[in-house]
Symmetry: C2
Subunit: 190 residues, 2 copies
């Protein structure tokens, strides 16, 4: 028997890969790419850090894998749709914002990382919003969409960072309501 049982094998490459990926998602989201070390990732995953090199090829490629992983289970979300916004915020409440957002405001030196993150965020957030604005016939839909996502990014990151105490402590529902008004302003005036 080679697979599918997956009970509690002590040696299980797939499981090790998965544990590393999950720990990496958490840590990259919490501390950003640079400030996260492969030793920390290994420690949190309960897996030897050397396996990061074996399974992913290195820290950078592990980061790309985390972005892809977030991309997979995240359907494109129109931020102006209240349900989608609520779902997204709830997710951040539990897991924190994805590792990708930080790359928007603090560019990476690795162009592969930069490109992957941009593609990810655009496909997931910017494009749906732009399409909606296009349907509404607004001018400069692309610019408006990017601006709205940038503002959203700032709020989400500031909420998890320590720079905005009241924002960090506020009730999620209240933040969501204010954030919705803020985003709706991108579609307000013609």
């Amino acid at each position: 028997m080679s697979e599918a049982s997956a009970g509690e094998r002590r040696r299980d490459a797939a499981r090790s890969r998965e544990l590393l990926l999950r720990a990496a998602i958490e840590l990259f989201a919490e501390r950003g790419f640079d400030r996260t070390t492969i030793r920390e990732i290994g420690e949190r995953a309960g897996v030897d850090p050397a396996l990061i090199a074996r399974y992913y090829g290195g820290k950078t490629q592990l980061y790309l894998a985390t972005v892809q992983a977030e991309h997979g289970d995240a359907t494109p979300a129109d931020l102006l749709d209240e349900e989608r916004l609520a779902g997204l915020l709830d997710r951040f409440e539990q897991r924190g914002p994805g590792p990708a957002f930080q790359t928007v405001v603090l560019p990476s030196d690795d162009s592969a990382v930069q490109d992957a993150v941009r593609a990810h965020l655009h496909r997931r957030l910017v494009d749906p919003l732009r399409e909606r604005l296009e349907r509404e016939g607004l001018d400069r839909p692309q610019l408006r969409a990017e601006l709205a996502v940038a503002a959203f990014t700032g709020v989400v990151l500031a909420r998890s960072g320590g720079g905005m105490p009241e924002l960090a402590a506020a009730d999620p529902a209240e933040v969501r309501a204010l954030l919705h008004d803020l985003l709706a302003a991108t579609a307000g005036t013609a």
Copy 2:
């Protein structure tokens, strides 16, 4: 004669201090605190990096000095005042956003840095905005002010970062107009 001439002395501590500070402001704004090395600062300033330790005590204290320097010549600015907003954006157009903004969205491990940045940004941007919202009788003025500044931070950083191409390429006046609408939304509904 001990001062005030300040022609072109080859050995001039005050000048070295100043050069280091300016280079540090630029580099911290471009790359953030962690990703900036004292060797880079020294290179850009044309000054030996060891003098950072001599004159400022270390990299962290140099960073605090840059925040203070930005604080000094920057009067508190109400982001909803169109003139103030325009002035602020013009400044960022030339010099880039200050080093402080990145710390809001990407928390530092050094609590002294974190506290200084928070105090700086609150005094300069959050407090004036909150006072305005209070005068207008809005609920949760502090929360609204922090949210607005966070959104502003996201937009400004994304504009200098590479994640939002159209936002980065857009005409400053256009960005300013959209940003104003966005910020005004924090004062829109009661």
